[in-house]
Amino acid sequence: MRIAMEIELKDIPGQLLGALGPIADLGGNIISIAHQRDRRTPRGTIPIKITIELPEKHLDELIARWHERGITVMQKGEERLKESVFLILIGHIVHTDLKSTIDAVDSTGFAEVVDLTLMMPGIDEESSAGITIKATGKKEMERAIEILEQEAKKKGLLMIKPLEGF
């Protein structure tokens, strides 16, 4: 799981190291870190923006270990759906129950349709849709695309996939 956080450190030596140590100890990986030494919060602490990759089950433990060292987590926003793929569907998209097509992906729990643009030229003509799917990981994305592909096949829709990866 990828998590973006803002934490606050006291302005004493060794604090940054103390904040990063537990991440590595818990098998995490630092994706980015922004540290502005000259910025201060009204509380006199130094704010740090940090994005890490960490198994979800270790997140509470990390926050607890930070707490022991006097480090506070001010904001926490997870980037749960980090994989994104754009696809095209062509066919009678609305009349083959668009809602159930989207549900096939959304009901997986690991992938979601986050954007859909539909163009309908005329009643008897086939529609086109651009669909963006997000998923929790690469494997989950492959699985979500397989599910959508089966759904499209069942409904006589043509699905156009990207060149790379599938």
Binding site: F86, I90, E126, G130, I160, P162, L163
Partner: protein, 327 residues
């Protein structure tokens, strides 16, 4: 000076293109390579023209040589020649008449060079086994990608590599139609008519637009250079008929174009329209150009492009195949 007596069976666009090329390059090949290439026979449905010393190519192109009342099979069975070039119209269902022509020539110990996809897409193993047993060469660079070198490139220049995958644009007609639809926002049926009037698409376009041609080429590549044993009818094929201008616009808004892609690797052989990032080399192929990306275990990715169709382009591939047999 080594003499090479050639017959051409099927004297249509490609066969005639080869006759032109032989005429144009004959002296050059004599001087540079010591090969005396002679066209000693031509046959198609109209009959046959034969001259053991070599036909006058200008006369042959206008059917002005003496026309004998013998058919192609007779010429193949009874003619005096070293190498047959098979350029009859391709048939994807039976591979005939080329399949029989090629077998008859190989059984008689003659080398064969062909641009005919049908027999190779349907009976690849049978034909290559027969060639090996007869100790003859069977060459078919012209079946895939016209003038774009790919089979010989992999066999000669990438020898020792294992080829992991090949993907690319192998049909100029589809690429022309999709390019025009994307750039002009025109519907499929309109651009198809335009392509037909320009001679880029056939009156019956299904062979190209339904992906059959791409599937045949992919089958030949899978067998010839990927070490797979697949028949044409095991390829999953989707053509371009259903592509809408709306779909192309939606793709473009997200930074993609749509191209008909053939892709072969172990466990997968598929022809389908795919979304290609706008800055990918495949996206830059406009009009009737072909392109292929080869993934090799030692060399990594290699990309080739070239003219995928045309009489002289196909003849170029055939001519190179002929020379390579004797060099």
């Amino acid at each position: 000076m080594e003499q090479v007596k050639i017959i051409i069976v099927g004297f249509g666009t490609v066969g005639r293109g080869l006759a032109e090329v032989i005429k144009r390059k004959k002296d050059h090949v004599k001087e540079e390579l010591g090969l005396d290439i002679r066209l000693v026979g031509v046959a198609d449905l109209r009959g046959a023209m034969v001259d053991a010393d070599g036909l006058d190519i200008d006369d042959a192109l206008e059917w002005k040589c003496e026309i004998r009342d013998i058919d192609s099979l007779q010429l193949i069975r009874e003619g005096e020649y070293d190498l047959m070039v098979e350029t009859t119209p391709s048939n994807v269902e039976t591979g005939e008449p080329a399949f029989t022509h090629i077998k008859e020539a190989l059984m008689r110990g003659k080398h064969v060079v062909t641009s005919n996809k049908g027999p190779l897409a349907l009976y690849y193993r049978e034909l290559t086994d027969l060639a090996a047993r007869s100790g003859c060469s069977l060459k078919f660079e012209a079946t895939v990608g016209g003038a774009m070198p790919i089979i010989n490139l992999i066999r000669n220049n990438l020898a020792g590599n294992r080829i992991l995958s090949i993907k690319g644009i192998f049909n100029g007609t589809c690429n022309y139609i999709l390019t025009r639809m994307t750039e002009e926002g025109l519907p499929y049926s309109y651009v198809l008519s335009e392509a037909q009037s320009l001679g880029i698409a056939e009156a019956d376009p299904s062979y190209d637009v339904d992906g059959i041609d791409t599937a045949e080429k992919l089958t030949i590549l899978a067998n010839a250079v990927l070490g797979m044993d697949v028949a044409y009818n095991s390829v999953a094929v989707e053509g371009i008929r259903r592509i809408t201008p709306d779909a192309l616009r939606l793709a473009l808004d997200k930074g993609y174009v749509i191209k008909l892609i053939g892709e072969a690797r172990e466990g997968k052989i598929e022809v389908a329209p795919r979304l290609i990032p706008k800055d990918h080399p495949f996206a830059l192929m406009r009009g009737t150009l072909n392109i292929a990306e080869i993934e090799a275990d030692l060399a990594g990715p290699i990309t080739v492009m070239g003219r995928g169709a045309g009489a002289i382009e196909a003849a170029s591939a055939i001519f190179s195949d002929i020379i390579s047999i004797y060099r």
